[in-house]
Every structure is written in structure tokens, then in C-alpha cells.
């Protein structure tokens, strides 16, 4: 990575952004640098470390069988989530697939709530009923958390429609992966968005593999930022938190003025697709290690911090330790939390559960409507 740093006398730091690739857009419309400050750099570092350590803690808990089911970790991709947090507001809607723990963290959930949810405890973000793939937060417009690949895309387009209809100065960030980019529903949704000029950002997290299938073996056109056809697109380095941030700011402006946009963020996941996937049958261990050494998003910020003497190694280590401590406390708390009571099995099926008959296995176990 080549970056040039200059420090002005107001202690703001200028970072040169990597190049963009554009589709139906002019390169000069996009910024060449981003500015940041010491405190912002440290905040990014701390937040991304928290995400990273939370994901690693989940890995350990899964191996201890305290988290069960299907677990999809996002370590390696933290800068995307940090960037979207920095580039958008809580009034902008976010919707994503199942690699959603870090977004849940950045959209207001605490590590304790997130870990408790994965452990299916009552204190979890969705009452222990959703699990790893189903985080939501109404207060910060986080619409989840979806298990079925691609299903969130038309849903997000609907959110964008509502925002436009209600004349809100906000956009919807619709996130999905390179695998989902071959789902028909993406094209149905994107067509509607372009037709009606909806403020929808179609954000592709391209980590080069859809489960075990590389992008070349799944997609005829691997330039995902061009897959919107007449919809403009940008390809960025997803591991550069500043480029993600600046691109989303640009995208928000674009969407509110003109309509949908496709953003492809190149990134890499260190773990396999899920915990059932070792992640080395379709890629080599050397490749994973190489990515860790040369493209790690946290190291990128760390190097800027050290180069600009914002903090030294010792201070960064302190931040590492404090985030680890925070996660450890959350894990210990989640371990002792109770699971949701068995009555929760039949709640939230309908909005007016009390008026519905939910058949139990034996008739006498059924949930009878209140009127009876």
C-alpha cells in the first residue's frame, strides 16, 4: 500500500486514497484524498479491533459448542463496516445477509447482546430467537440479518422506495456478496430502482469466494460494479476504511440526486464461509496468510497511526487489551444468562398471537385464542 501523509497544523491528517474503477461515472467526480484526525484514527482502530476480537471470541465459543448452528464470521472485512458507519447515518437504512455481527455492533448493539444472541440466550439482540444470522435494530434502521441468499435485496429496494416516497434525505445500503450477485432477484430489484430513481446503494462485498466457488467459476462477468448495466458503479478497496467512507458519502449524494448506484468493495474473509468450512479446500493457506500480511484493514490504520506518531506501539497494545477485556466480560456474562423460556416458542408468530390458535403437537398443548 502506498500512501502519502501530510500533517497540517490543525492536526488533521490527509490520506491518499487508492484508485477507483468506475462505470458510467467520471473519475474526477471522486475524491483523491480523505482527511482524518488523531482521535478519529484511534477510534477507527479501537472499533475495528473490537469487531475483530468479537468475531474471534465467537469462533472459540463455537468450538466449545456454546454457540451452535451456522456461524458466518466477518474477520478481515471490518473496514467495510467501519466505513459504512462513518459514511452514513443512523437515519440511513442498512440491510444485509448473514455475515452481520459487526454491523449489529456498529448499529448500536453491545458485544454482550450480540454474543448472547448467538448463544441463544434471552438477553440477546433478538430475544435469543434469531441467532447468528438474524440481528435487527429498529432504532438505528438496521433491517437485518437474512439467511436466504439475495432475499434481502428486493426487500432493501422496498425500503429505498419508502424513503423516496416519504421524501426523506436518506438512502438504503443494500449489502450482499459476490455469490448473491447471481441471484435473479438482484436484477429484478435493480431494474425497479433505476426505473423509479430510488435512493438504493447496492453494495457488493466481494471476498472472491461464494462459499467454496471462486468468482471466476460463478460469474461470467466478475466486474460486479458493472453488473447494474445502465446503473453507475464504482469498485473500491474494501480494506481501506477511508475509501469506503468517502465512497459512501459520494454514493449518498448521488442516490439522493439521481438514483441507484452499485458499489463493489474488494475484500477478504480470513475464516471459511462458515464454521463448517475450513476455508482451505478452495484456496491455499499461503493465500490467506499473504492477505493477512499485506492487506489487513486494521494494520493499515495501525501503520498510519504509527507513521504519524498519533500513538506508539505501547498505547495501541493498551487499546488491544481493553477491547479484549470488553469482549471477555461480555462472553462471561452471556454464558450465565438464561435461555428464552419455552413459552417463547409460540410467541411472535402473528402480531396478535393472543387471538390465534397455534396447534400444539397434542391438541391439549395448543395455544388457544384469548376469546376461548
Amino acid at each position: 500500500m502506498i500512501f502519502r501523509i501530510s500533517r497540517s497544523c490543525f492536526s488533521s491528517i490527509s490520506v491518499k486514497l487508492p484508485s477507483f474503477k468506475v462505470h458510467h461515472l467520471e473519475l474526477q467526480q471522486l475524491p483523491k484524498t480523505a482527511t482524518t484526525t488523531s482521535s478519529e484514527l484511534l477510534a477507527y482502530y479501537k472499533s475495528m479491533q473490537l469487531q475483530r476480537r468479537m468475531e474471534i471470541a465467537c469462533d472459540n465459543l463455537y468450538k466449545q459448542r456454546l454457540i451452535r448452528g451456522f456461524l458466518h464470521l466477518a474477520d478481515g472485512q471490518e473496514s467495510i463496516y467501519e466505513g459504512l458507519h462513518a459514511g452514513l447515518t443512523y437515519d440511513d437504512c442498512v440491510i444485509t445477509a448473514y455475515r452481520d455481527h459487526c454491523i449489529a455492533l456498529l448499529r448500536g448493539d453491545t458485544p454482550h447482546q450480540i454474543i448472547a444472541e448467538m448463544m441463544a440466550k434471552q438477553t440477546g439482540s433478538t430475544k435469543g430467537k434469531g441467532g447468528s444470522m438474524h440481528y435487527y435494530k429498529k432504532a438505528t434502521n438496521f433491517y437485518g440479518g437474512h439467511g436466504i441468499v439475495g432475499a434481502q435485496i428486493p426487500l432493501g429496494t422496498g425500503l429505498a422506495f419508502a424513503q423516496k416516497y416519504l421524501k426523506k434525505p436518506n438512502v438504503t445500503l443494500i449489502m450482499f456478496g459476490d455469490g448473491a450477485a447471481n441471484q435473479g432477484q438482484l436484477y429484478e430489484a435493480a431494474n425497479m430502482a433505476q426505473l423509479w430513481h430510488l435512493p438504493a446503494i447496492y453494495f457488493i462485498e466481494n471476498n472472491l469466494f461464494g462459499m467454496g466457488t471462486s468468482i471466476d467459476r460463478a460469474s461470467a462477468n466478475t466486474k460486479f460494479y458493472t453488473r447494474g448495466d445502465v446503473i453507475p458503479g464504482i469498485q473500491i478497496d474494501g480494506n481501506n476504511v477511508f475509501q469506503v467512507r468517502e465512497t459512501l458519502k459520494f454514493a449518498k449524494k448521488h442516490c439522493l440526486e439521481k438514483g441507484p448506484i452499485f458499489i463493489e468493495a474488494m475484500t477478504y474473509r480470513y475464516h471459511g464461509h462458515s464454521m463448517s468450512d475450513p476455508g482451505v479446500t478452495y484456496r491455499t493457506r499461503e493465500e490467506v496468510q499473504q492477505q493477512r500480511k499485506t492487506r489487513d484493514c486494521i494494520n493499515y490504520v495501525k501503520n498510519i497511526i504509527l507513521e504519524n506518531k498519533v500513538a506508539d506501539e505501547h498505547q495501541l497494545e493498551e487499546i488491544d487489551n481493553s477491547t479484549q477485556n470488553e469482549i471477555d466480560i461480555a462472553v462471561e456474562q452471556a454464558k450465565v444468562d438464561p435461555v428464552p423460556p419455552s413459552t417463547e416458542l409460540t410467541t411472535d408468530v402473528y402480531v396478535d398471537n393472543e387471538n390465534h390458535f397455534i396447534r400444539g403437537i397434542l391438541y391439549k398443548d395448543s395455544v388457544l385464542p384469548k376469546s376461548q
Binding site: F70, G128, G131, Q183, G212, S276, L345, I361, L362
Partner: protein
């Protein structure tokens, strides 16, 4: 023995029951190995057979297609992109020009993007073209049922949605020997078949599976345990649960007859009716939710045919009418205790 050997030389042998297979040429296999063996046999015997789906090439997420790409090449065993609707429809197209299309949908929970293609295109192809065209050589394999921690989207049993569609066949095996024979029969059946494989049994179920090319008849239910007092009907993973429950009931002197439906649709009504006329009592079990599950259809059919023979109402012991839950899975599933309780109530009616 000489006669049997000669029959095998001329291709597949067809059997009514797995116990009819006299072959001593057997190997210990679990469910995914038996499926793998069946696919290997078909790909070897039929040059027009193709196997495709998500991540099928490297062996599949459940190892069902292990080694097949290496053996038969990428033009016969290949990956598709992540698009279930595309996979299903592509399979229909291949089948309609005479290829044997074996399409894999990684989890039954993901079959719904292909639902329109299966229900509207595949099931009705022969009918609407006046038998000029058909996609009979299409088989859709998908994983099925609870696995202990699958939650909402890795545990569903969608058989009832497809059993409600004339033109399709739906099959669920209980064990490796059945799986191999039923899968080969399904692939070679000249109607589109959906073959659901119980994912919980991929590693857990083991048996001495014959290595020959054999098929087990579709639309034939099997009485896996003879009994006098009550008929227990199930399929797939439920058969194990029924066996456990019947052991508990045996201690109380209740002799249970257990029937594996095998082909969910079109089902073998005669075997069910013969059994219930003998016992007078019936319990049907499945993991899928109660309302409009297969239990509802079988109850209606059996009471229609056996009304005067029934000593007690037909009972359904099934999943609750809720989405498949996360941590509440043990409460949700129809386990041996719930079935035992139903047996007791039925016998004491």
C-alpha cells in the same frame, strides 16, 4: 446365486424391499457414501447423466459428490452459480431434451426460489404439452429435516408443499440401503422427482450397503416392524424416533407396527390401509408443522378407508405451527416421549 449374478450383468435389478436384495457384495457405508455410490453408478451407466448444483464439484458440502468430478469430468459434474431458480429451471430444460439432470439444492430451506419452476414448469410440462414433451429425467436432490442446531433456515421439511402438486413425485429415504435404491429409482423414473435426504443421517446412519446397481420401487411403503395394536407411520429421520417410542410402548405390552412411507407422493395407500384395518389405531409423525402437513392428508385418507375399523381417532404428532425455532428445537420436535404419550392415549381411548 448364479442366476442373481447373471441378472446383475444386464444392469440394474429392481426390488420391492431392501430385504429382497440377496447380494453378499456389500460395504459398510453411511448415508452420504450410499448417495455418492448411487450417483457414481448412474453417472457410470448413463452417459447422459449430469450432476450439478452449488459447490458440487469439490465434493459437496455434505460430501455426497466426493470424487465424482475427478472421475467423470467437469462437463458432467459441475458447479452452478448461487441461483436456485436457475438451477431448477436449467434442470428442467436439460431433462426436456433427454438428459438425466440431477440437480442439487444445498438445503431444502433454499428450494423456494425454484418453487415456481418446479410447480408450474416441471410438474405440468407433460400435461400441458399433451405428452409431446416432458422433463421426466429430472431429479432434484435436496437436504431435509432437523439437524440439532439448524434453526429456521437449515432444518425445514418442505415435502408437503410439493406433495400438493400433481405431476411431481416426492421421496424421503430412512437409511443408506433405502437411500441408494430409492435414489437410483428416482433418477430413472420417467417423472420429475424431488428426493429429500435427511441431513442428520448423513454421517450417523450406517449400514452394509450392496455395491450392485439396484433400485427400490417407488410408491411402495415398507412395514419396518410388525405389530398388532397400533400403526405408526413416518418417514426419514422419524423412523428412528418411532422405533424408540415403540420400545417404550413394548414395556407396557403394546405391540407397534411401524411403516416407512418412503414415497411421500404418490404414496402407497394400500399398505397403510391394510395395516390400520389390522390394528385399528394410527399415529402419523413428521417434523414439519401440523397444519396441512402430510399427517393431515394421510389421516383424511385412512379414516375414509378404515372408518369402521378404527378404535381411536387418528393422531398426528408433529412439529408446532411455528417457524422452526433456534434454541427451542428440542421442544418443537416430535420426539419419542410425545409419540409414546400419543400411543398411550390412543390405546386407552
Amino acid at each position: 446365486m448364479q442366476l442373481l449374478k447373471r441378472v446383475h450383468q444386464f444392469g440394474s435389478t429392481k426390488h420391492r424391499f431392501a430385504s429382497d436384495i440377496g447380494s453378499t457384495n456389500r460395504q459398510k457405508m453411511n448415508l452420504f457414501q450410499a448417495i455418492n455410490n448411487a450417483l457414481d453408478i448412474e453417472l457410470g451407466a448413463n452417459p447422459k447423466a449430469l450432476l450439478f448444483g452449488e459447490d458440487v464439484k469439490f465434493g459437496g458440502v455434505f460430501r455426497c459428490s466426493q470424487g465424482l468430478n475427478e472421475k467423470y469430468g467437469t462437463d458432467r459434474v459441475f458447479n452452478t452459480p448461487l441461483c436456485e431458480q436457475g438451477i431448477g429451471a436449467f434442470g428442467i430444460g436439460l431433462a426436456s431434451v433427454g438428459y438425466t439432470a440431477i440437480a442439487e439444492i444445498q438445503f431444502g430451506d433454499y428450494i423456494f426460489p425454484a418453487f415456481d419452476q418446479i410447480v408450474n414448469e416441471a410438474a405440468k410440462f407433460r400435461y400441458r404439452s399433451g405428452n409431446q414433451f416432458n422433463c421426466g429425467s429430472l431429479t432434484i436432490r435436496s437436504t431435509w429435516g432437523a439437524v440439532g442446531h439448524g434453526a429456521l433456515y437449515h432444518s425445514q421439511s418442505p415435502e408437503a408443499y410439493f406433495a400438493h402438486t400433481p405431476g411431481l413425485k416426492v421421496v424421503v429415504p430412512r437409511d443408506p440401503i433405502q437411500a441408494k435404491g430409492l435414489l437410483l429409482a428416482s433418477i430413472r423414473d420417467k417423472n420429475p422427482v424431488i428426493f429429500f435426504e435427511p441431513k442428520a443421517l448423513y454421517r450417523n446412519a450406517e449400514d452394509e450397503v450392496p455395491l450392485d446397481d439396484y433400485e427400490l420401487e417407488l410408491s411402495k411403503a415398507e412395514v419396518v416392524q410388525q405389530g398388532k395394536h397400533i400403526t405408526l407411520i413416518g418417514y426419514g429421520t422419524s423412523i428412528r424416533v418411532l422405533r424408540e417410542a415403540s420400545k417404550m410402548a413394548e414395556k407396557d405390552g403394546v405391540s407397534c407396527e411401524i411403516i416407512d412411507l418412503q414415497t411421500i407422493y404418490p404414496y402407497d395407500g394400500q399398505t397403510l390401509v391394510d395395516s390400520v384395518k389390522k390394528t385399528g389405531r394410527c399415529i402419523i409423525t413428521h417434523e414439519a408443522p401440523q397444519t396441512c402437513g402430510m399427517g393431515a392428508e394421510l389421516s383424511a385418507f385412512i379414516q375414509e378407508k378404515c372408518f369402521l375399523h378404527l378404535e381411536a381417532p387418528i393422531r398426528r404428532v408433529t412439529g408446532y405451527d411455528t417457524p422452526f425455532p433456534l434454541v427451542h428445537e428440542p421442544i418443537y420436535l416430535p420426539d419419542k416421549f410425545k409419540i409414546y404419550e400419543a400411543i398411550k392415549e390412543s390405546v386407552n381411548y
